[in-house]
């Protein structure tokens, strides 16, 4: 092609790469700020009000919780951004896939059928594995099947996900209705997201799984920027759209499964952190968005946990803050969207 006839094509060339660099520099600075803030949060979490006499012991406990929080933030943060880009809608959360209700259902069913003193309930490691395998297998199977059945229509898949999630919750609530009240009391503590009581093996295993999933789907993740242009444009640019979308949804469900199995139902967090990241970076480049979302997740979770531990002395779990804050933020997003 030759369009040599054109004016200021030459001068334009000198300016644009510079502008692009400047933009990247601004984004880089913002990300650095987030990184510093998350480090600050982590530092505060480890050292605030620590008893120097039992420093090693406290560090061990706090360090484990902190690691779990950081992993959760990365899982939920990246999964939410990817999910929103796949659906092409920025006010959805992966909650819509029904993983939270599946988690609650699995736990309730185990207590209901086997009793709260069964090894599957008391051994955190075993219960983690059960959650992970069941959630991973069920969701992968259901969503791959639905995808084929609906001719790759993401909206149908979402709709069915919402229905399934209601279905899971009703099954769960009918079980709790006829359950022994004492058993229900024990059950209830596991149904709230919590960072205590997570052992090192689980954290390590989650970390390895995250890396494996990211590695397996690296090619699809690299196509995220193009995917957001919409189906037609993505196909036009040579992307195998349906396959990529299927893989990305699979990666999202696996990440949510990992995080939920580790700490409990928490994916609502994704709505806040993904949107704050989108507002802050206002770019289409997913490398920035995902990194930003993950760091914001660390900041929100760690500060939330700090408040929950240091101010409310564990009487208010961090998930309450997230749900209240997330709800308000969701309303704000809806109103802002309407104004636009």
């Amino acid at each position: 092609m030759d369009i040599s006839t054109n004016i200021n094509a030459a001068s334009e060339q000198d300016i644009t790469p510079k502008k692009a660099n400047k933009k990247a520099a601004i984004l880089g600075r913002k990300l650095l700020l987030l990184l510093l803030l998350s480090l600050l949060a982590c530092g505060l979490y480890i050292f605030l009000n620590i008893n120097m006499k039992y420093f090693d012991y406290a560090l061990k406990i706090r360090g484990k919780k902190l690691a779990a929080m950081v992993l959760t933030a990365f899982c939920i943060g990246s999964a939410s951004i990817v999910f929103q880009s796949v659906i092409n809608n920025t006010i959805v959360t992966p909650c819509l896939l029904g993983m939270n209700s599946l988690y609650t259902l699995i736990h309730t069913a185990v207590v209901f059928f086997l009793g709260s003193s069964n090894i599957l309930v008391t051994n955190t490691y075993l219960s983690y594995m059960i959650d992970l395998v069941l959630m991973g297998v069920i969701s992968t199977y259901i969503y791959s099947y639905l995808f084929k059945k609906t001719n790759h229509n993401v909206l149908y898949v979402l709709l069915i996900g919402t229905i399934l999630s209601t279905f899971f919750s009703s099954m769960q609530s009918s079980m709790t209705r006829i359950m022994d009240p004492n058993e229900y009391d024990t059950l209830l503590t596991t149904l709230v997201a919590s960072f205590s009581n997570i052992n090192t093996e689980i954290i390590f295993l989650s970390f390895v799984l995250m890396i494996v999933v990211a590695f397996v789907f690296r090619k699809d993740l690299a196509l995220l920027d193009v995917i957001t242009l919409g189906k037609n444009q993505a196909i036009n640019l040579g992307v195998d759209y349906d396959r990529t979308i299927r893989h990305l949804l699979l990666a999202v469900t696996l990440y949510i499964s990992i995080a939920t199995a580790m700490v409990g139902p928490i994916s609502f967090l994704g709505l806040i952190i993904a949107n704050v990241s989108r507002q802050l970076f206002s770019t289409y480049r997913h490398t920035w968005l995902i990194a930003g979302s993950a760091f914001i997740g660390v900041i929100v979770l760690v500060f939330g946990q700090l408040i929950s531990e240091q101010i409310f002395h564990y009487s208010v779990p961090v998930s309450i803050f997230i749900t209240v804050g997330g709800g308000l933020y969701f309303l704000y997003l809806l109103l802002a969207e309407r104004k636009r």
């Binding site: 369009i3 920025t90 957001t228």
Partner: protein, 250 residues
């Protein structure tokens, strides 16, 4: 590009029925016809956006489905009507996506040059840092065309490029399409509702009725009183202006 016996139906309703067509190289071909005649579907079929039920589409001697996605994206570009981007994207970033089939997200110096040329060609240089969602309909349409130009394909397929544009912007758009063919040697296939634009700016016209090709030929062959009346079921008068047939209908 050779199309032979193309068929597509939704449930039991046939929307494209045994369409055979040869798209001549290096010219502008307009597809016209009443609503629901299957023009857009044909365009989507030949650009692999939707799957066909039967028939052959031979593109450069090879069936279109045996092309590698990325390779095809270097030879054939399509622009459809609905382009909703939720992202914060500037014009330059959008146009840069046109280079995706060549270099992925790592732009080379050559890519940057092509992007700048495409932006300048569509006279968007001053706006290149504006966000897409802050543009007017005409500017946005031009930005998308610039992206297609940056994609640097021999074939360009456009689905109603003048849709939602006022008279000034649509005639500008048609002039640009003409120039894409004359200056850059591209083959442009477009779906149009405005018959006179098709008559004035294209080399060939293909008229569709009920999923079938009703008439295919040069502009003067198709733009006759009888043919048009038959296609649209409306009375037509044909007049010559600047040596080109223009239709009057009411």
């Amino acid at each position: 590009m050779l199309i032979h016996n193309l068929k597509k139906s939704y449930n039991s309703k046939t929307v494209v029925d045994s369409v055979s067509l040869e798209i001549p190289k290096g010219c502008v071909l307009s597809m016209i016809g009443p609503n629901g005649a299957g023009k857009s579907t044909v365009l989507n079929l030949i650009s692999r956006l939707i799957a066909r039920d039967a028939g052959d589409i031979t593109f450069k001697g090879k069936d279109i489905s045996s092309w590698k996605n990325k390779e095809l994206a270097k030879h054939l570009a399509i622009l459809t009507q609905s382009n909703n981007v939720q992202m914060k994207l500037t014009i330059r970033e959008l146009v840069a996506f046109g280079r995706f089939p060549y270099s992925g997200s790592q732009l080379t110096a050559e890519d940057n040059q092509k992007i700048d040329e495409a932006i300048a060609y569509m006279e968007l240089t001053d706006l290149s840092d504006r966000f897409i969602d802050e543009l007017s309909g005409g500017q946005r349409q031009r930005a998308y065309i610039a992206m297609v130009i940056a994609q640097d394909t021999e074939y360009i397929l456009l689905d109603e490029p003048t849709n939602n544009l006022d008279i000034y912007h649509s005639s500008n758009m048609m002039k640009i399409i003409r120039r894409l063919c004359d200056d850059l040697g591209k083959t442009v296939v477009l779906v149009l509702h405005e018959i006179n634009y098709a008559a004035f700016y294209s080399d060939y016209i293909c008229a569709f009725v009920n999923g079938q090709v009703a008439k295919f030929g040069t502009v003067s062959e198709v733009m006759t009183k009888e043919t048009l009346s038959e296609i649209y079921n409306v009375d037509f008068e044909i007049q010559e202006i600047e040596g080109k047939p223009l239709s009057i209908y009411y």
